[in-house]
Structure formats: C-alpha cells, structure tokens
Symmetry: C2
Subunit: 339 residues, 2 copies
C-alpha cells in the first residue's frame, strides 16, 4: 500500500465509444487528449454516527478542480466523487470480510483528488469517464491493487450514471483497460480486451452542443431485421479485422447503417466530412460517442494528418469553431506514477 | 487440367448456418454427414445455334442420382446443375477474355456428375449447399483451378436460389472454405474464414418437416434496438472467443435473443432439449439453419457424446423419430480426390 499523504500522478485518456458499427459495445482509448489528476490518501476524522453511510463516505473525499470548467466539488455531485464513494463502500465490505489487503479501519479511508481536466466536458470523447476511471484506478494504486479492472469499471460506472443517467461502460472500459474493448454485457459486467494493430486517430470537435439525452432520444427503438443483419456482419468482421491486423477488412467493416444515419443529422457537415476523410485515405470513422466529436482511423500517421486538414478545411469554410487531435490508440489505459 | 473422362471423387460436408447469434452471417462445416459425388469431364456434342444460352449449357451437364431421394436430374431444376451452369457461363467468359487456363473452346465443356446424397434433404444441415458446392469445387479441380473460392461460392449460390428462392451463402461459404466462416456481405460477396479451436458438434435431426419459407415468414421484420445491441455484443464476443480459443467466452456468447425465441416454436421439445444439453456440459447451440436439426457445441468429445444421449432420451420420450450425429468442425471444406 502506498504511503499516506504521498501524491501520485494520474493520466486518464480520452475514449471513443460507439466505434462506428459497434454501438454501445465497442470503444477505444486514445493517447491525446487526456486528463491530468493528482491524488493522495489522507487522514480521516469523520464521525459516522449521525450521518447516512453514503454522505459520511462523501465527507472522506476532497475534490479540487485546477481547471476552469467549474465542475461540482461536492463528491456526491462529481463523477470522480461518486466513483470513489462506490470504491470506498466496496473497500469497507472487504474490511468486514477480512481481506488481507484491506487493513484501513472502516471510517478511516479518505482521499484528496486534484483534477486538471484537459478533455473538454461535452465533447463526446469520454470526459466524464476519464475523471471517474482516473480516480478509481488511482485509489486502487494507493490501496495496493486490491481490486480487479472489472471491479474498477463497476465503480467508475457510477460516475457515468451521474453524468448521463445510465450506467454504461463504453467509455469506462477502454479508459481502464486501454486499447479496443468490447463490452459484451453490462449486467453481469463482461469486458473483453481486443488486440488491435497500430491505428492512427484523427478527431475533430466542432464546438456545438449535442446533449447525450437528445442524441439518445432521437434513436429509433425499433429497427429493421435486415439492417441489424448488415450491422452484425460488420461488427463480426471488424473484430476479425482487428484481431487479424487486416486494415482493409477493418476499413470495409467500419460502416454503421443504424445509428449514424439518425444521429449524424445533429452534426453540421457530417456527410461531407465523411466523404472528404475517406477520400483522404482514412479507413473509416464516424461519430465519437454521442457526438459532436467525429473520429477517423488511418493506417498511417501521414494519412491521419491529411484527414485533419480536411476536417479543418470543412469547418473553417462552414465557419464553425473547432479543435482537432491527431493521435493513436492508447494501449495502456489510465496510467499512474508516483510523484 | 485433369484428363477428360477420368472420374474424381468428391466429399461435400454438411454445414450449420445461423450459428446461434450469427443469423445469416456465421456458419461452419462438419465432418459428418457428407455427400459423396463423382464427376468427370466428357466430350460435348451440343449444337448451340437453335437454343438459348442457358439451356444449351444445361445440355452439357448430365446428373445421375445414385441415392433414393428422387431429386430432379434436369440440370436446370437441380441445385448442382444450376451451379454448374453458372460456372460454365463464367468459364466461357474467360475463354473469350483469353485466360491462359481457359483452353476448352466454347460449347465443348461438358460434365457428368453422380450424386450419392447422404445428407438428407430438408434436414437443415445444408443438403442443397453440399450438392452445389461439391459440383463447382469438383468442376474447378477438373479445370485446373481456374476459379477462386469466392467465385465458386458465387456459382454455388445459384443452387441456393433454386432451392430456397434466395441467393444466400451461409451454407455454401463454410462448405467451400471449411471451418467457421463469416459472410460479411452478399453483394458484393465477402467471405471471411475465421480461425477456430477444436469444437465437437452434436446434431439431432428430429424427423419433422420445417419449410424454410415458413421458418422465414414467421420472423419479425422489425426488432428492438436493445435486443439488437445484445445480439451484436454476443456476435462480437463469439468471433473474439473463436479467435482467442477461449471456450468459456464462446459458451457465454452462444445466445440468440432474436431468432431462436421465434423459430424454436416450430421444433418440438426445443427449450427442454437446450436445458438438457447445457446441463450435460455443452458450450451452447441452437437451431441449425432454419431447422429442424438442432446442434450443440462441446469442448470435449465425451461431452458431445453425453449431449447425444440427452437428445436421444428426449426424442425417444416424445416419440419423435430422430437421427443423431457426433462429429467435429471440418476444417477442409469440400475435398476432391482422383479416383
């Protein structure tokens, strides 16, 4: 277990969920952008007698934002906070069960977390997931790796519930596992890490707001069987392409006939951008999460840079402020280092 | 190119389409049962002047059934016949294009095919696919491997069109490629051979008739998005499980929430059989093609034999005549040997 009061540094990567045909199941982590966090364990001096369990645990968490986003610092209203509350609750269960690594008495585990959010909230690249995942991976490091990655995903999903109303793992899973992940099932949770060849990623964030709730509400609840068959052919082929390191197959499989035709309406210039990026040599791509960011995958970095130019050209012409990243798939997930 | 009048022997395996969650896209070949065929190239003496192209080509094909199923011998009404017509048409195109391997003058290519059908028609394990696939693989052997496997799948699909009204490749693809195959797309055709660990297969054929047209017409044309998401999570995980040789993952992924709940109504005892086979240790399984055959996959042969006992027990109790096979996934596809 790591010493009390000693700070650790955490890098929590941005993530792309809904990997084209893999709506709700496939996602990946990228090397840039990422959130920077610092975290330490501190002495706790909480009386648990007069409060409810959750809010007494909340008092054991101090969140300090060192960015300008003005996110809530009340742990029960902060995604990193609720993820840590879930982790502390699970820790206390382990104390009661007598787990040999769970040696801090109940009521005495407390954390301080500094968050420097470099992933803009609402951009569609897993900003909230980075905070919750970073916090629980950091806490687990401080506690001597008591919990499994699956456990950590479960804790961090409380953050997603707070942020979007739904416990989903499509950003949390790649953020914690790194690489490309498949969430086969949420209840019970099953995350499968998929091998993947080197893939370069170009992301554009057009500065418009797409509410996750809107992006979800416009989806049709019923779809045609023939479209679903096309989609699952592509998903199966995408998994095979990633595992065979077959770039052409990956490219052919990156088609979404169900979600993208509906959601892309919310993103100005989407269809034109897609044509331009593919003409520039991208394998394929689509909406990142529920948008508004758009990502394209390329085999070569030079292609990813050419794709970036197309993105800039289009949004400059439309007159829409935007930000781009040229990065690659991050294999490590959240990284922790002693200060 | 193989000598004229010399017979070759062909083994064309049975196949399981709609591999549980992989409706219309995933299938595999098995080592037993299989059709036996013999085939040779013969001298042609056809006048092409007064007939339509297709029927003149049909006159170049002689089909001899050496089983008791009384299937049509008119090549235009026989699945192997129409597949061979498609192959001869493509051969004549190659003659016109001057392909160096296409040396037999137009109008002079003719075949004789003996078919000993050991895969019972209508049993749901790709009986018609075996005939069409066996015929075109045999013909290609006799012609010195002019055509690719993809070409052969395209020719053989004419047989499926004749048999079921629809050009589908879900039995043809595994029959020709062997192993487990993924049909990502029919137009244009894309077949992906998937690596797979050793899997033992138990098949039961309850002797009832399930018309493919009935099995298709009862399917709902619209499905719920949430069910589709569950299905494609399983499909992605099944592909990953096969490629990682992870038997537990294969087992967990073999669930179909869309087709099986509808189609299994047509097969007496299905739900009870499924419970019994899984209790006996099978990884999972379901309806083979559009039924009535049912298959289950096992890691060990001993389990596959125990599963067979459960199948026999149930259908004996119900009083339904049935036939079982204990076999394994066939990696080779159609096999050809000189006599």
């Amino acid at each position: 277990m790591f010493e009390i009061n000693q700070w650790i540094k955490i890098k929590a990567p941005a993530t792309v969920a809904n990997m084209v045909c893999g709506f709700d199941i496939l996602g990946f982590a990228v090397n840039n952008p990422y959130d920077e966090m610092e975290m330490r364990r501190v002495e706790s001096s909480i009386s648990t007698s007069t409060e409810t369990a959750a809010s007494s645990i909340a008092a054991a968490i101090k969140i300090i934002n060192i960015d300008d986003y003005n996110l809530p610092t009340d742990p029960e209203k902060n995604v990193a906070g609720v993820a840590l509350i879930a982790l502390i609750e699970a820790y206390e269960e382990q104390v009661q069960l007598g787990h040999p690594k769970a040696t801090i008495p109940i009521g005495q585990l407390a954390f301080e977390v500094k968050i420097n959010k470099l992933i803009k909230p609402g951009s569609g690249v897993g900003s909230s997931a980075a905070s919750s995942a970073g916090a629980v991976v950091g806490a687990n490091y401080l506690l001597g790796d008591l919990f499994s990655k699956d456990d950590l995903v479960r804790f961090a999903m409380h953050g997603e519930k707070l942020a979007s109303g739904v416990k989903h793992a499509d950003n949390i899973a790649p953020c914690i596992f790194g690489g490309v992940t498949l969430v086969r099932s949420i209840f019970p949770l099953e995350v499968i890490a998929l091998p993947s060849p080197i893939l370069h990623v170009t992301i554009v964030h057009p500065q418009i707001e797409v509410k996750t709730s809107d992006a979800r509400s416009i989806l049709k609840q019923n779809i045609q069987l023939k479209d679903a068959i096309k989609q699952w052919g592509n998903i199966a082929a995408l998994v095979a392409g990633l595992m065979k390191e077959d770039y052409d197959l990956i490219g052919r499989s990156l088609e979404d006939v169900i979600i993208e035709p509906v959601r892309s309406i919310l993103i100005p210039g989407f269809d034109e951008l897609k044509l331009a990026c593919k003409a520039a040599g991208a394998l394929g791509g689509g909406i990142s999460g529920s948008g508004p960011s758009i990502f394209f995958l390329s085999k070569e970095q030079s292609t990813a840079l050419a794709v970036e130019q197309e993105m800039k050209k289009l949004y400059t012409r439309i007159g829409l402020p935007h930000h781009t990243y040229v990065t690659s798939i991050n294999a490590a997930g959240v990284e922790v280092n002693p200060s």
